[in-house]
Symmetry: C2
Subunit: 108 residues, 2 copies
């Protein structure tokens, strides 16, 4: 592992006419910046990385965020949610349940 936790924030921008909307239009870039600021503030820079990502295939739930290696998905994240995710999940090890996306079961 190069990072203890690796946060990917969807910043995909679809055309304005696309009825799904997009994570960029819903504020994905501000969410990533909020993670960067909060990680620095909490001394986690270097250990946890907040990364921009292209479409995470969760367009209806944007802004979408996935944190690895645990594979926890969050949706509808706002900058105001970020300190709680950092405090509870990244420091405390407990996902923020109210923001989690449902699991998708694929295959058999």
């Amino acid at each position: 592992m190069r990072f203890r936790c690796h946060i990917f924030v969807c910043e995909n921008r679809r055309p304005d006419a696309d009825e799904r909307g997009s994570c960029a239009a819903r504020g994905g870039e501000a969410v990533r910046q909020a993670f960067k600021d909060e990680l620095r503030r909490r001394g986690l820079k270097g250990e946890v990385r907040a990364n921009g990502a292209g479409c995470l295939d969760a367009c209806g739930h944007g802004p979408a965020v996935v944190i690895y290696p645990e594979g926890t998905w969050y949706g509808g994240v706002t900058p105001a949610d970020v300190p709680e995710i950092v405090e509870r999940h990244l420091i405390g090890g407990q996902p923020v349940e109210r923001l989690r996306l449902p699991k998708l079961e694929r295959g058999a």
Copy 2:
């Protein structure tokens, strides 16, 4: 998990004058497209996702790729390497050692 494996390919583009170069300039977008094509060909679409990413902080090793949840990092990946990564790593469960990045040890 929404995906069994989630591949992130750095597509970050730095200014041409930046001496580090960048993953986009070294062909990151072609690598991601090669993953998408190969995943479809091998029937893994939906189960494994090839995602574009912003800077993965491994600029000297581009194009950089990280695969989660295992957290395996690859560097200097070309489209010609992609079938081997899919066959050995994503299907066979064995990382392709010759392409792996060294581990970074951070903190105590």
